[in-house]
């Protein structure tokens, strides 16, 4: 197997009183889209920040390895990392309004990256910025390039963020909930664009999201996180056909979907009781306090990730017992 572009091995992120990411491992191949799914508090965004080395100062990485294109990122100094960030690894965030500078034109914000990383200035930079705006399908770039962020719609702002992110043709793009703040119609357009760029620029994408529908349609591979740990990994088709971990099953059952005929007059939605807060201080399986099929033994140890078939990992020793499968009613 070829060396993956990004390999995260046993990564732990620790704050003085909490450990929001625990022994996380995953790989992303060249040009591949990996989705990391989880709810707030699952550690998915911190994982991205750890990889970009943008963690707050109070955070420590006591163990783990992050390898990008054969280089150990944790061993790099600030300067080398700054060089890499934006040039080889780029990131876009959920709320484009808070990541764009409100007092600079979008043209200025794009050329800034080009000047910083590639030394392109003046007219050449402006021309390149214009190209980038058309690359992300912003209509009428000549007119738009001198606009300020507030003059653009949410979808347009996210396109500008993408233009900045891909300005130096990065090999890896982190997209942290890139469409959560957008309408479904705009979401489809933005995801379409990301996927086209992934192909055109042969760039790998790590898509961090809580939206299972987005995952199914855009990811090559899915990692499901809960309370800082990977609880399941699968190809999207398999994940939605036969979810294994009780959390994944619960998520699928809990989501109302267009193509099901579920209606409130006939049926309740399947709930996952409680909230992710209950995982704090749990010594056993972090999902145990909310799990419909938890057993006594689940309180004693954190289940290992077990490879159950090719490309398929699950961290629940009971996920194969038929009664467990029935214990979490599938809403499909």
């Amino acid at each position: 197997m070829a060396t993956p572009l990004l390999r995260v091995d046993n990564l732990t992120v620790r704050f003085p009183t909490t450990e929001p990411v625990s022994r996380l491992s995953f790989e992303v191949g060249e040009g591949e889209t990996l989705a990391i799914v989880g709810e707030s508090g699952s550690g998915k965004s911190l994982t991205a920040l750890a990889l970009m080395q943008l963690l707050p100062r109070s955070a420590k990485i006591p163990n783990g390895r992050i390898e990008f294109a054969g280089r150990d990122l944790l061993g790099l100094d600030q300067k080398a990392m700054r060089n890499l960030r934006g040039r080889e690894i780029a990131m876009i965030f959920q709320e484009p309004m808070t990541s764009l500078n409100p007092v600079l034109t979008i043209g200025r914000q794009i050329t800034e990256v080009l000047t910083l990383h590639e030394g392109i200035r003046g007219k050449a930079a402006r021309a390149r910025a214009m190209e980038l705006l058309s690359l992300v399908r912003i209509p009428d770039p000549q007119r738009r390039i001198d606009d300020y962020p507030h003059q653009l719609s949410g979808g347009m702002r996210q396109r500008v963020m993408i233009a900045i992110a891909v300005a130096c043709r990065p090999r890896l793009l982190f997209a942290d909930e890139p469409t959560t703040a957008l309408d479904v119609t705009i979401q489809a357009q933005v995801l379409d664009l990301l996927d086209t760029l992934r192909r055109e620029l042969s760039m790998a994408v790590v898509l961090i999201t809580h939206d299972l529908g987005v995952v199914a349609q855009w990811a090559d591979k899915v990692v499901v996180m809960y309370a800082g740990r990977k609880v399941e990994q699968a190809l999207p088709g398999a994940l939605f056909r036969t979810p294994l971990h009780p959390y994944t099953r619960g998520l699928l059952a809990a989501s109302p979907r267009l193509k099901t005929n579920l209606h409130y007059r006939d049926a309740r939605l399947t709930e996952i009781p409680g909230s992710i807060v209950s995982a704090a201080g749990e010594r056993g399986c972090p999902f145990r306090p909310r799990c419909a099929v938890a057993r006594d033994s689940c309180a004693h140890f954190v289940p290992d990730l077990v490879e159950v078939s090719e490309d398929r990992l699950v961290a629940c020793p009971y996920s194969f017992i038929p009664e467990v499968a029935h214990g979490v009613a599938l809403g499909l």
């Binding site: 979401q187 109302p256 909230s275």
Partner: protein, 315 residues
């Protein structure tokens, strides 16, 4: 008689660059015990419509009737009395609770405003509602920051229900919540409806939630309702191209992706396109659409649509 009946309602704002027509001639009804879903993109005017119905924003024209009373023209004291029966649940459970008040104070305030009960009675009502929404009684002495998003939304629901209203306007009540919590809150809203005989106007941009939760669905585009039908009909035979595009844009885990169904953004409500307001984004638009606004007409019993090319459903 419908519980809520809105006719030709419009809410325009004065803004730089001309009138902003947020709600531009909307008629709708909510029947007793009914849940009406209102869907549309951000900026289509659905929240403004909800707020206008609550009389939190003054309408520019049209009429809002609640229980047969015209509430568009009520003076302050009679409006206050009417509001007892119409309550609202907001999207952001973080922004809609005063961080310096205890949950007990937050829930008691509406009772005081409406002069309900003495101190002991109010305490009883507050304790009853907090348990109904699934929170322990000792929550009453605590502050909003001590609760998670899902729990705060339960508090928001308790506050809306404490006056025993007939109609609750829910403005994106689950959009800010995690998936695993959404189902809890939707189930709670269903339980409350059953127990208290509520009617809901349920505003959401999330079609799959509306699919589950509504009896009837209204689709809004740039200040107007463009399609309305009962739930089953709308999902099985949507007629307006906008409704179809909205549905196609929802990513479905069991279907591989397709190209984005519509292009471009919602036009500005300060500059509403001529003719059919959807024509700038409609894949089927013709010259007729560009010049003439389609009427909102019935194409089958209970199914209305504003499109020149929507075929009547054959019986």
């Amino acid at each position: 008689m419908a519980l809520l009946s809105v006719s030709d309602l419009s809410t325009h704002f004065h803004a730089q660059g001309g009138a902003l027509r947020a709600v531009d001639g909307v008629s709708l009804e909510v029947g007793r015990g009914e849940t009406v879903g209102l869907v549309g993109e951000s900026g289509c005017g659905k929240s403004t419509l909800g707020k206008t119905i609550m009389r939190l924003v003054d309408p520019t024209g049209g009429k809002i009737e609640f229980n047969g009373t015209d509430i568009t023209v009520l003076d302050a004291s009679r409006l206050k009395a009417a509001r007892r029966n119409i309550q609202m649940i907001f999207q952001d459970p973080f922004a809609s609770l005063n961080p310096r008040h205890t949950i007990g104070d937050i829930l008691t305030a509406p009772l005081k405003v409406h002069g309900i009960g003495n101190k002991a009675e109010r305490r009883g009502i507050v304790e009853d509602i907090i348990e109904r929404v699934g929170l322990p009684k000792d929550s009453l002495g605590r502050y909003p920051h001590e609760f998670s998003g899902g729990q705060r939304q339960r508090i928001g629901i308790a506050r809306a229900l404490i006056l025993n209203p007939e109609l609750v306007v829910c403005d994106e009540p689950v959009s800010a919540l995690d998936l695993s919590i959404q189902a809890q809150i939707l189930n709670l809203l269903v339980d409350m409806k059953r127990q208290l005989g509520l009617s809901y106007l349920f505003i959401s941009h999330d079609l799959s939630v509306v699919r589950y939760f509504a009896d009837r669905v209204l689709v809004m585009y740039l200040g107007r309702i463009v399609e309305s039908a009962d739930n089953a009909t709308l999902w099985t035979s949507p007629k307006h191209p906008y409704t179809r595009a909205l549905m196609d844009a929802v990513p479905d885990p069991l279907r591989r992706r397709q190209a984005a169904p519509i292009h471009g953004d919602l036009p500005s409500p300060q500059n509403i396109p001529s003719g059919c307001r959807f024509h700038t984004r409609c894949p089927l638009a013709t010259d007729l659409c560009r010049s003439q606004e389609p009427a909102f007409r019935a194409i089958a019993a209970g199914h209305h649509v504003a499109c020149h090319y929507a075929e009547p459903t054959l019986n």
